[in-house]
């Protein structure tokens, strides 16, 4: 199965800019479906970015993060061709991990 995580990490000078887009419903638990039944909460709780064995960015998310979440940040260091590891875990225990090459 294709990964739910799409990442673009670009090294320029001393820093690496990371943009990530994840496919996830991010259901808040406040929305009803067509039958009027509440759609149970289903959202990513933790999203971690690791570079060189250390986490460079950790997101703790609630249900108020938009569907198919997007996040952008940058960190010092990171070279072209090196790996950035991205993983998430949601409130239902599902998870996904991917590794992206820094460009």
């Amino acid at each position: 199965m294709a990964s739910t995580i799409r990442v673009r990490a670009t090294a320029s000078g001393e820093t690496t800019e990371v943009q990530a887009l994840i496919q996830h419903p991010m259901d808040s638990g406040f929305v009803k479906d067509a039958k009027g039944e509440i759609i149970p909460p289903h959202f990513i709780r933790e999203l971690t970015f690791e570079y060189d064995g250390k986490s460079v960015f950790v997101a703790d998310w609630g249900a108020a993060v938009s569907k198919d979440p997007y996040v952008k940040f940058s960190f010092k260091g990171g070279k072209k061709g090196e790996d950035l590891k991205i993983s998430w875990v949601d409130n239902q225990g599902q998870s996904d991990t991917t590794t992206a090459k820094i460009q």
Partner: protein, 164 residues
């Protein structure tokens, strides 16, 4: 003489330690317990903070203290959001020693939307997209050098993002 000196300084040290311990424990006992709040903000998913209703309660649950407004926190959000389901919001700051950045939407059912841990070496700047139930203040909190700084901006929402 030397023995007396040592005895004196040892006693003095003990007394000072005692005073320090009281000073540390005091505020925790008076208000709420500070230790778990800090642990939650630093390395574990802050479950309680995300369940808190209002913005003040969420900040307290997450950090254990209140934030002061600062013009060094730059919150970038639209004046009017056409679609409350996807509101692009970003924060950057010129403050040093930033350890975390959090986003709150005051009028959402649970005010805390996202909290980001910023290790040393990572830039204190985050962009993301949040859901907003209705027109509300958006609050950005920056934790820098153990203190909290905030910026607030009202975003008008024409179509809510939390259905119903």
């Amino acid at each position: 003489m030397t023995i007396t000196d040592n005895g004196f300084s040892a006693t003095r040290r003990l007394i000072l330690q005692g005073v320090a311990a009281v000073a540390l424990v005091g505020p925790g006992n008076l208000g709420f317990s500070l230790a778990p709040a800090f642990a939650a903000a630093n390395d574990k998913y802050p479950e309680d903070a995300f369940k808190a209703k209002g913005d003040a309660d969420a900040i307290k649950a997450l950090y254990g203290k209140a934030a002061e407004p600062s013009d060094k926190v730059k919150l970038d959000a639209p004046e009017i959001a056409e679609n409350g389901a996807v509101v692009p919001i970003s924060v950057s700051t010129t403050l040093a020693d930033v350890t975390s950045i959090s986003f709150l939407v005051s009028e959402n059912p649970n005010a805390l939307a996202a909290s980001y841990r910023i290790p040393a070496g990572t830039m204190p700047s985050v962009a993301n997209r949040l859901k907003m139930a209705k027109t509300s203040n958006v609050i950005a909190i920056v934790e820098a050098g153990g203190k909290l700084y905030s910026a607030t901006k009202e975003v008008k929402v024409t179509v809510g993002g939390c259905g119903g």
